[in-house]
Symmetry: C2
Amino acid sequence: MINQVTWIWYPGDFEIWLHEKISVLREERGRVYPPFWRLDAAYKSVRFRKECDLKMDDSITIYAEGDYYFEIDGKIIYSDIKNYLVTKGHHIINVKVYNPNTFPTIYVEANEIGSDSSWEASISEMKSEVVGCWNFNSSTDKPSQFKLSTEKIYSKLIEVKDNSTLYDFGKETFGYVILKSIKGNGKVSIYYGESKEEALSSKYCEVFDDINIDNGVSEDYPLSKSRAFRFINVVFDKTVEFDGLEALYEFLPLEYKGSFKSSNEMLNKIWETAMYTLQLNTREFLLDGIKRDRWVWCGDTIQTALMNYYTFYDLDVVKRSYIALRGKEPTDSNVNRIVDYSFYWFIGINDLYLYSGSCEFIENNYDKMVSLMDFCLSRLNKDGLVEGQGSDWTYVDWAEIDNRGEVSTEQLLLIKSLFVMEETAHMMKDFKREKIYGKIAEEIKLKTFQLFWDKDKEVLLHNRVEGKVLDKVTKYPSVFALLFDYLDSKQQVAIKNNVLLNDNIQKITTPYMRFYELSALCQIGESDYAMKEILDYWGGMINLGATSFWEAYDPALKGEEQYAFYGRPFGKSLCHGWGASPLYLLGKYFLGVKPLTPGYESFEIAPKLGGLEWIEGEVPTAKGNVYIYKDKNTIKVKIPGGKAYLRFASSTEPTSQDGVVKYIGDNIYELELLVLNKEVSINYEI
Amino acid sequence: MINQVTWIWYPGDFEIWLHEKISVLREERGRVYPPFWRLDAAYKSVRFRKECDLKMDDSITIYAEGDYYFEIDGKIIYSDIKNYLVTKGHHIINVKVYNPNTFPTIYVEANEIGSDSSWEASISEMKSEVVGCWNFNSSTDKPSQFKLSTEKIYSKLIEVKDNSTLYDFGKETFGYVILKSIKGNGKVSIYYGESKEEALSSKYCEVFDDINIDNGVSEDYPLSKSRAFRFINVVFDKTVEFDGLEALYEFLPLEYKGSFKSSNEMLNKIWETAMYTLQLNTREFLLDGIKRDRWVWCGDTIQTALMNYYTFYDLDVVKRSYIALRGKEPTDSNVNRIVDYSFYWFIGINDLYLYSGSCEFIENNYDKMVSLMDFCLSRLNKDGLVEGQGSDWTYVDWAEIDNRGEVSTEQLLLIKSLFVMEETAHMMKDFKREKIYGKIAEEIKLKTFQLFWDKDKEVLLHNRVEGKVLDKVTKYPSVFALLFDYLDSKQQVAIKNNVLLNDNIQKITTPYMRFYELSALCQIGESDYAMKEILDYWGGMINLGATSFWEAYDPALKGEEQYAFYGRPFGKSLCHGWGASPLYLLGKYFLGVKPLTPGYESFEIAPKLGGLEWIEGEVPTAKGNVYIYKDKNTIKVKIPGGKAYLRFASSTEPTSQDGVVKYIGDNIYELELLVLNKEVSINYEI
């Protein structure tokens, strides 16, 4: 079989090149603000190699980004390669490319030996790697020209002052503002606002552009930088005139594969707003937020990736993000410099494997998984526990918390990462490492529970400082211990009552940690409670006029206070990827679909009403879409493939023609579905 | 004390940026030919940091290559920093710079806190390093604008044909050719030749330029690329006219600190030609040769650096070269991909320390010394010996040699590298590593002599393949074992007679390995023999018309055969750094000056006539120039500082007012010089 001919590059370098470009788009009041982690760049000199046994003569033409030389069977051909005849038989072809501007990439047009993933790339001509490639399938479709799509959008003029006009685009959006038919001479300032208040605050709005119009002759003036906004305030010299604002909305084309409807209108609005929030942040990479950082943060990525699996099921943007996050060797700091974010990187890759079923990403990145784990383990303290070293950032959450010393949450995340690495090493047949990872995981798990499980109070404590475990109880370790299933059933009940449902424990005020909190609650059967929280918390933002969900939301704050963060009046991002967590919660715990084995070879459907009349929706999987409907008596499902197990509570035994019903105790029945692509209906009673 | 304000950058990044630029200047018949090792690039995003206690208010202005933001005491100042007032007291200043085009660098104008080596740089804001800087001492003298100097040179027209003219610049040179007053329209081809034959061979000359003249109006046309040449053949369309050739000679300004004269005119010519050869190759870095590779190779660098210490004593170009050779982490291949070249890197840095006395370079690069040694040790075979792994290149020399398996020369180079690292670790107070390196060195040394020392034949054998030591004897292991002083006196004599002076052993035909061969001979008292070899071998090239010394020279080859190499008729470089080794040999073994302790705190002067009537010269040292004259009865020396020991043979006891004479056996006397900057004269008899 002949593969699709495509542009190829050194593996990871498209992503790393793109990430470098994207990472420096952050501006703080007009000044560039590069990330504070190491900014890696693509290699500039790469050798591409193909060894082949040609069945017949082939004619090849090389297109390259960069200068190159071509070598066949050790002989350099000193010219551009156009319709160059390669005779049948065995050959070794090398194409060495130098590109100081973007990154070396080639497209080799040929019948049998065109550039595809059977080629190898090398940076020192020592070790060869399978090349990277991604959908750049014609000679003119050059990888370095990669751009998101754009579409014209329109605004409404909502306020006119002497030398300023305020426009509303109706909802949060992103793109390049266009000043219509501008003419004259003078200065124009564009103040961007996610809120009206922000746009009107020339002094404190987070993003602005100043431009000079020089003999404008009624032409549209598109701004050169893409920005996040809903409101725009334009302040201009009187010597300048223009005819309103439009914008080029910039977006990654995404298909809404997942869907959700229910009997609750607020919930439906939450789902739609969450979809739009996720969509805006799903771009070259999974960004944290579109206004301020525009960076790829692993804590954010692991969540938006999970949301993605239940909605767009765009695996490519997830892969791009994990490659970008990891960057290049050497590994001399944590991912994003944050201790927990290294751990999320392992866990996130495991999620990707579970939801996609593809081993390829792990195979291509296993070396980097090993070296990051080496790094993490090299930084354990003398007791063999995680403790931030030097300028490591032990983050956990935006909250008033004391993260000095050994933080129990960090231990739990490391334990999980080690179990992931144990499983991954097994898959890679690296049995020596498999054993080591498993052993260290068990040791740290034992120590963690010995230290932090308070037997009297039956809670997990937050941290130990200089050998002393402090009294402080936070929700974080409880949430992760539940999610990772590290508690026995007695501990689970205790944790639920003493911590998660205990009003005296410090509340979580970021959607970021609410993601895990509500997941944990759903996991231990508190889905009615979780549904109420979703409606209250995300409904609370909707009631404040949110058209996308926020970085943080504390219902107690009033008016403009809601917009402040990091000590700046408009510091808060009002369109933050992690704000969209209802997508994941509704898909996984209410529509109830989750893979049991990688790639949905087998999966569970365990729909929950959460107190509503009915819910309905689709969940994309590696096999296609799963359809689910549930009301108070009926469940309907349709599956595209895989072994599916429908689980539901019923007080009487249901029957089905389309699968095998099994009682598994506690009024729970399991229906193993036997038919594909056909709606299966079952009645239950509760 | 306030330091000189200067441009600062992340340590090593100026060198790595410059090295990237220089490394891709190699062309093969018009096509770019990047190195086959990994080409590293400077970081693009760097944070510069200064913590200070200002005694009085300071006003600062920042110049940057790249975009930046300025932060003082945690607060970002959102503007260009011009005459910004920093009040007296304690401050932390950060300047974060992003530069995707060259590399981030800043110049901070201020009284107390101007940019200098007290600033730190960081790429992840985790670990800070002392910044790099080098003589860019004004705001307008930007590091990225670094250029060598140029000077007009002229040629002689020596041959005119119908549509071509041949020019001779009189000697090997380097630079940008200028077509004088060119006019008309048409194609002009410039064929460069280190020999006349090469310039006249449009098909096989290694380097050429094709240009198109489009309505030329009698203006000088300078070529855009710098090239090596002596002869230029210009082939042109008849529709083009020009008025001869000039060139801009491009060079690194260097001072001829060392000098040498003798009673032998050929030797004087050899010294001058060697100086010119070294000068042409001493550029941004110590290049191997100026025509073809124009690359930095460690095997070449270690030798040209040693020649440099006896001539230009330009330590900066040596440092730049060793930084460029090492590149960045991770260390996933040998230096230049060659096993021996990693070892030369350690030994070369030790030379630099010995000749300069400066610890700074080692302090700044110790981490990279450790990680390269880690890499080397990680690749030992199961018997704990060096053996090329994968596509490692075990080079040793250009010669018909079998370098399969364990090559004894490689073991000796590793042993020496380990002893260097033992000494370096001690200096860095890294006593744990000091012990490890010493132990491994002794173990490998023991094994090496057990395996390769043939007790019957009393020779060192070349290699072991698949467990079997082969019979082959080459000069290489003998030479290094002598130079590193790993032989007892009985072995030394045996090696001298059985190998080095044995005509049946394969001859060395590169100046590269003749460097070590003749050094070893001088070291064991064969300076008369070595002098004869120098006169024959380098004199042989002079007699063939060489104006600079060659990459390889085999007196047995005839006519144009001398120019062929690598299977190409003009493949040989006729101006190769390693061709200039008489500079080192004459300085160290005939003028006889060598440091005994780092930085010439103490040094030896042991002049040898090598059979000549007289020799005279100066050797630059860390203390200044040492003057030496010797004839058959007199020695005159003048030293600028340091403890100097003049050693010479005499059959009667000499006397001196200017130092203490000591007899040390075997008719050798040592005079410890007691006066500085005064010519001391002594008479001896032999």
